[in-house]
Amino acid sequence: MDLSQIGPNIVKLWQQYWQVFLLEGVMNTLKLTAIAVFFGVLLGTLVAMAKMCRFKVVRFFIGVYIEVIRGTPILLQLYIFYFVLPELLPFLALSPFMWVALALCINSSAYVSEVIRAGIQAVDKGQTEAARSLGLSGRQTMLRIVLPQAVRNILPALGNEFIMMLKETSLASTFFLGDLMTSYLLVGGATYLRFEALIIAGVIYLCLTFPLSKVVAAFERRMARGTAD
């Protein structure tokens, strides 16, 4: 490999293929991430509530759900959603892209539910006791006292979940689904300039995650200031 050519090659690749990377790769990566995190948060909230409900049977099965998802590789889950489930559930008629989005969303829900549960349980028990002692119902206490404080713990962690998910969508390239890693496969394969294509993809991932992680960090600091007492 002629290292001196890397710089010029990158420039050349970029000029020729920037649309593949940006318009297709980045767009699909963001689309997958947004779908996975948005529905992951919705589903994760339900899972968290179920995990804290009063019925032992429900708590048990939700516990199994969370353990199975967190205890198996995401790639294995993607295989199941891509190859097995469409055959088992043909009536759903989802596109391969949507099957993968669904897998990521289910995966995200398990992590998000634990984030939410931890955020709620981190709120001091004395807050609940004070609210209940004033005559607030369990529901009012949750909505007016516990959740507003839990959000401070939860939001920064959800930001991190978004960043994690953004990177994990690269696994969609296993099925050639048009995300940023697929762009690398396309461009690298067509030009045989694999290293250069990887650098371009890597820099783009960094450009996406670095500002996000800075935003999350700033947010965390603000939240920490808000609760200090």
């Binding site: 001091d124 004395g126 807050q127 006791e129 004070a130 609210a131 209940r132 002692s133 004033l134 005559g135 607030l136 119902s137 009012q140 007016r144 006292i145 507003p148 404080q149 401070r152 808000g226 609760t227 200090a228 007492d229």
Partner: protein, 246 residues
């Protein structure tokens, strides 16, 4: 003896945490207008007894009657009765995400359906009373421990309770702030507010109480007027306890 209304009555309360038996049969009656202090060694069941009175702890045996209603009964709407029992905690438990004023107005508006204007007016009166009127719009994080506890007291008062329960209200305070909080409690009991006060401040208990309960090992070992109990303790556990703390 004058006719007195029974406000809270407990019958043979038992409570365990795991294998640890904390209350081993506590029967006691608090009358309207009475100021009762509960003293005793840590782990003797004082706080648990107090927390049972508004059902923050559920006793596994025994009954609690509040204003004639058995609140340990199965079909009781405990939220309704808690509105009439104010509670002040050792660690203040003010709501950090609400301003000082909103800490006070939250429950009257939400639970009693009071109008915001009325609740605000009342909150300002109460804040005035404890010298915190200038802090109304401040977040509680900016308050000192003593100020937080004064806020917690008026937050409970805003519900116009029939009884106030104090769970070691000065134990978490820096020494220089104990006085200001005790002053507020003293002012309150002088208005005739029925109060049950779990405390380690013996001087205070002696000064403000109509009656003092000495709790140890999960039972009330001695009960009586403060002069008797402090000057002529009969129970050997109490004699031992007073010798150590006084």
């Amino acid at each position: 003896m004058e006719q007195r209304t029974e406000l809270i009555k407990t019958v043979d309360l038992h409570k365990s945490f795991g294998k640890l038996q904390v209350l081993k049969g506590v029967s006691e009656t608090i009358h309207a207008g009475e100021v009762v202090s509960v003293i005793g060694p840590s782990g003797g069941g004082k706080s648990t007894f107090l927390r049972c009175l508004n059902m923050l702890e559920t006793p596994e045996q025994g009954q609690i009657f509040f204003e004639g209603v058995e609140i340990t009964g199965r079909k009781v709407d405990i939220d309704l009765h808690r509105q009439k029992m104010g509670m002040v905690f050792q660690h203040f438990n003010v709501f950090p995400h609400l301003s000082v004023k909103k800490n006070i107005t939250l429950a009257p508006i939400l639970v009693k359906g009071m109008s915001e204007a009325e609740a605000n007016k009342k909150a300002m009166e109460l804040l005035e009373r404890v010298g915190l009127a200038d802090k109304a719009e401040v977040m509680p994080g900016k308050l000192s421990g003593g100020q937080k506890q004064r806020l917690a007291i008026v937050r409970a008062l805003a519900m116009e309770p029939d009884v106030m329960l104090f769970d070691e209200p000065t134990s978490a305070l820096d020494p220089e702030m104990v006085g200001e909080v005790l002053e507020v409690i003293k002012g309150l009991v002088e208005t005739g507010m029925t109060s049950v006060i779990v405390t380690h401040e013996m001087g205070f208990a002696r000064e403000v109480s109509d009656r003092v309960l000495f709790m140890a090992e999960g039972v009330i070992m001695e009960s009586g007027a403060p002069e008797e109990l402090f000057s002529a303790p009969k129970n050997p556990r109490l004699q031992d306890f007073l010798a150590k703390v006084l």
